[in-house]
C-alpha cells in the first residue's frame, strides 16, 4: 500500500498577498473608501511637508541669541538656551545634580521590580515605596545631611511636573482603592463618608480647588505662616484624583462575579484577605486601561498649577517666551512642551498595554 502523499501547498493567489492586495483590501475596497483614502493623503500632504520644512529643514539649530536664527524655520536655539530652565525651573544650577541623582536613584531602584524572577519582590517593592520618597525629599529639598536647602518656590520645569505627577499617582491609587472598597462597604458610616468624599471631589473642577487653595486659604492663616504652595497643590491633586481612581476601581469590583466573593468566603478568608488575595487582583487587572487613563489625565492636569503660580514645564515655557530677548518664540516653546508631554503620556500608555498583555491570564480560553 502506498502512503498517501500530499501535494505541496500552492502559493496563495497573487491578488491576495503583497502590498497591492493589502492596499486593495484596506484602502480601496469600495469607491467610498477610495475617496476617503485620497482625501486623507491630501490632508497629510497639506500638513506634513510644511511641518518638516519648518521643524527640520529650515530650522536653526546652532547659536546663542535670537539674531542667530537667520533661517525661515523653527528657532530651536531658544529651546537649547532655555533647556535648563524648562527641565529644572529655578533650581540653582550648581545643585541640579541632586535632581539628576534623584531621578537615577528612582529608575535604578525601581528596575528590579520589572525583572520577572527577582526574589521577594513584594517586600522589596514596599521597602522601595517607603525609602525612596524619603531619600528623594532630602535630596531635592535639602536642609540636612550637609545639603543646602532649596525651597520649593525654586522648583520648576519638568522636574516639578514629575514631582506632582508621581506623588499624585503614588498616593491617589491606594487612597482610591480604599475609597472604592469603602463605597461598596456594608457599614453605613464608611459607605456614606466614601460616597460624600467621591461625589464632592468629582463634582468640582480641579482648577477651582487650586484657585481657592492659593487665593482664599492664605487669608485664614496667621500672618507669616505660609503653607507651602507645592504641598497645597499636591494635597489637592491627590484628593481630587483619588476620587476618580475610586470610581474606576469600583467598576472593576462590580465586574467580578458574585461567585468569586462567595468562593473567597467559603475558603474561610476574612474581608481584607479575600479582597487582597481574590477580588482586587482580578478587579485591578480588569481596570488597568481606566487607571492608566486617569494617570495620563493627571499628568496633563498638573499643568493647571499655572493658576497658582507654580512653574511647571508649561508655565516655564510660557514665561520664557516673555523674555524680551526671545519674543516671538512661543511656537517653538509650546511645540517642545507638547513633545515632552507626549513622550511621557505615550510611554505610560505603552506600559499599560504591556501590563495588560502580561497579566492577561485565565480569560483566554
Amino acid at each position: 500500500m502506498n502512503a498517501h502523499v500530499f501535494k505541496p501547498d500552492m502559493p496563495p493567489p497573487v491578488k491576495t498577498v503583497g502590498v497591492v492586495a493589502w492596499m486593495r483590501a484596506n484602502l480601496f475596497s469600495s469607491w467610498v473608501n477610495t475617496l476617503l483614502t485620497f482625501f486623507a493623503i491630501y490632508l497629510v500632504w497639506l500638513a506634513v511637508p510644511p511641518l518638516l520644512q519648518w521643524a527640520f529643514i529650515d530650522a536653526n539649530w546652532t547659536g546663542t541669541t535670537r539674531a542667530d536664527c537667520t533661517k525661515e524655520g523653527a528657532c530651536w536655539v531658544f529651546v537649547q538656551q532655555r533647556f535648563g530652565q524648562f527641565m529644572y525651573g529655578y533650581y540653582p544650577s550648581d545643585l541640579r545634580w541632586r535632581v539628576d541623582l534623584t531621578v537615577w536613584l528612582g529608575v535604578i531602584g525601581a528596575a528590579p521590580l520589572f525583572i520577572r524572577r527577582f526574589p521577594r519582590k513584594v517586600a522589596y517593592g514596599i521597602g522601595y515605596l517607603l525609602v525612596y520618597p524619603t531619600v528623594a525629599y532630602f535630596l531635592l529639598h535639602g536642609g540636612s545631611f550637609g545639603l543646602s536647602q532649596v525651597p520649593t518656590s525654586q522648583w520648576g520645569g519638568l522636574m516639578l511636573t514629575l514631582v506632582i505627577a508621581t506623588v499624585g499617582i503614588a498616593a491617589a491609587l491606594p487612597l482610591g482603592i480604599l475609597l472604592a472598597l469603602g463605597r461598596r462597604s456594608r457599614m453605613p458610616v464608611i459607605k456614606s463618608v466614601s460616597v460624600t468624599f467621591i461625589e464632592f471631589w468629582r463634582g468640582i473642577p480641579l482648577i477651582t480647588v487650586l484657585f481657592m487653595s492659593s487665593v482664599m486659604l492664605p487669608l485664614f492663616m496667621p500672618e507669616g505662616m505660609s503653607f507651602d504652595k507645592l504641598l497645597r497643590a499636591m494635597i489637592f491633586v491627590i484628593l481630587f484624583e483619588s476620587a476618580y481612581i475610586a470610581e474606576v476601581v469600583r467598576g472593576g469590583l462590580q465586574a467580578i462575579p458574585k461567585g468569586q466573593y462567595e468562593a473567597a468566603s467559603a475558603m474561610g478568608l476574612g474581608y481584607w484577605r479575600s479582597m487582597g488575595l481574590v477580588i482586587l487582583p482580578q478587579a485591578l487587572k480588569l481596570v488597568i486601561p481606566g487607571i492608566v487613563n486617569t494617570f495620563i489625565a493627571l499628568f496633563k492636569d498638573t499643568s493647571l498649577v499655572i493658576i497658582i503660580g507654580l512653574f511647571d514645564l508649561l508655565n516655564s515655557v510660557r514665561q520664557a517666551t516673555a523674555d524680551p530677548a526671545w519674543l516671538g518664540m512661543a511656537t517653538e516653546g509650546y511645540v517642545f512642551a507638547a513633545l515632552v508631554y507626549w513622550i511621557f503620556c505615550f510611554g505610560m500608555s505603552r506600559y499599560s498595554m504591556h501590563l495588560e498583555r502580561k497579566l492577561d491570564t485565565g480569560h483566554k480560553r
Partner: protein, 342 residues
C-alpha cells in the same frame, strides 16, 4: 443661592479682617531686617517689567524697584527674593504677608488703593491702553478706526476701556478677544484684525514679536490711564515711606544727573548742596526714614537712577524700544516728578 451668598459674605469679611488686623507701623521693616531680605512680588513674566533671564535672574523695571528698596534698607541690592505672582493671586499674597512689597505692573485705582487694605507707593510707569496698526492701513489717529476689527488682548480692564472709547467717539468696531499675547500678535500679522489693542507697554513687546516690526506703528492716542506702581500693605506708614522715597530718590537722582557711574565721586566731592543732601553728605535725611545715611548712594550705585533703569529694561537699547513719553522727567516733557529730599 442665598446660603452661598451668606457664606461668601462671611468669607470676605473674614478675609478683610485678616487683611487689616495685622498691619502695624514698623512691623514690616523690622521683619524685613530680621529675615535679611525683601520679599518682592513680581509678575510671572512680562517683557521689560519682570521676566527671568536665561540664568533665572528676574530682570525688568518692576524687579529693579525691589532691588532699589533692598539697596536702601540693606545697602545691598541682591538682598531681595522674588515671588512670581499671577494677576489673580497678587493681592492675596500682599495681604497675607507673603510678600513685603508688590511691584507687579499694578494699576493704581481708587478701589485698590482704598478698598483692599493696600496702598500705592508711587508710579514707576505711566501706562495706558493704545493701538497698534499696520502702516499700510494709512491711519494716523484712533479716531479714524471706524468699522475696524479690533483684536483685544484680554486684560483686567482692557475690554471695558476699549468699548467705552469706541462708544464715546461714536465709532463702530468688531472686537475679537484673545487670552494670550502670541495669539493676538499672530492675528494682527495674518490680517484677521486691523488693529491690536493692549497696554502701550505691551504693544511694544507685541510689535517686536512680528516678522516685520517696522511695518507697524503705535498710534498716539492713549485711551485710558494706567499708572503702574509698587503696592504695600495699609497701616505701616514707615515701610510705605521707604518704598515711596526709594522711588523718589531714583527720580531725584536722574534729575540731578547722578548715575551709577558718577554717584560715588559726587557723594565724596559734596560741592553741590542739593546733591550733598540727597546723598547723605549733609544732614541726616536717611534717619527720618530709618535708613542708613548713604541710602541714595547705594540705590543709584547698585541699581541706577530712574532713567538708567528705564533705558536698561524698556528703552531704545532693548527689543521693546519704548519712548520715555509720559515717563520722562517733568522738566523734559514728561510727568515724572519727585518731591525733593531735604
Amino acid at each position: 443661592m442665598k446660603m452661598l451668598k451668606t457664606t461668601l459674605a462671611v468669607l470676605t469679611a473674614a478675609a478683610a479682617l485678616g487683611a487689616t488686623s495685622f498691619a502695624q507701623a514698623g512691623a514690616t521693616l523690622d521683619a524685613v531686617k530680621k529675615k535679611g531680605f525683601v520679599q518682592c512680588g513680581v509678575s510671572d513674566g512680562l517683557p521689560g517689567f519682570s521676566v527671568p533671564d536665561a540664568k533665572g535672574n528676574i530682570v525688568g523695571i518692576d524687579a529693579d524697584v525691589c532691588r532699589a528698596v533692598a539697596a536702601a534698607v540693606f545697602g545691598d541690592a541682591t538682598k531681595v527674593k522674588f515671588s512670581q505672582l499671577n494677576a489673580k493671586e497678587r493681592f492675596t499674597a500682599l495681604q497675607s504677608g507673603e510678600v513685603d512689597v508688590l511691584s507687579r505692573n499694578t494699576t493704581w485705582t481708587s478701589s485698590r488703593d482704598a478698598g483692599m487694605g493696600l496702598v500705592f507707593a508711587g508710579v514707576t510707569y505711566y501706562d495706558g491702553i493704545g493701538f497698534l496698526v499696520n502702516k499700510k492701513l494709512g491711519v494716523s489717529s484712533a479716531k479714524e478706526l471706524d468699522g475696524a476689527t479690533v483684536c483685544i488682548q484680554a486684560g483686567t480692564t482692557t475690554e471695558l476701556n476699549v468699548s467705552d472709547y469706541f462708544r464715546a467717539n461714536g465709532l463702530k468696531y468688531t472686537p475679537i478677544t484673545f487670552d494670550t499675547s502670541d495669539e493676538s500678535a499672530k492675528s494682527l500679522e495674518s490680517g484677521r484684525c486691523d488693529v491690536l489693542t493692549s497696554d502701550k507697554s505691551q504693544l511694544y513687546a507685541q510689535r517686536s514679536k512680528l516678522a516685520a516690526p517696522t511695518d507697524y506703528v503705535v498710534l498716539p492716542e492713549t485711551i485710558s490711564k494706567e499708572p503702574l506702581g509698587p503696592v504695600v500693605r495699609k497701616g505701616d506708614e514707615e515701610w510705605f515711606s521707604i518704598v515711596k522715597w526709594t522711588l523718589f530718590a531714583m527720580l531725584n537722582a536722574e534729575e540731578a544727573g547722578l548715575t551709577s557711574k558718577n554717584v560715588e565721586a559726587e557723594a565724596k566731592s559734596g560741592k553741590n548742596p542739593d546733591n550733598a543732601r540727597l546723598l547723605g553728605a549733609d544732614g541726616e535725611y536717611g534717619k527720618d526714614l530709618k535708613l542708613p545715611k548713604d541710602w541714595v548712594v547705594q540705590i543709584v550705585k547698585q541699581v541706577g537712577n530712574y532713567g538708567e533703569v528705564f533705558e536698561k529694561n524698556l528703552g531704545k537699547s532693548t527689543p521693546l524700544q519704548i519712548d520715555r513719553g509720559l515717563n520722562a522727567l517733568w522738566n523734559n516733557g514728561g510727568i515724572q516728578y519727585a518731591p525733593p529730599v531735604r
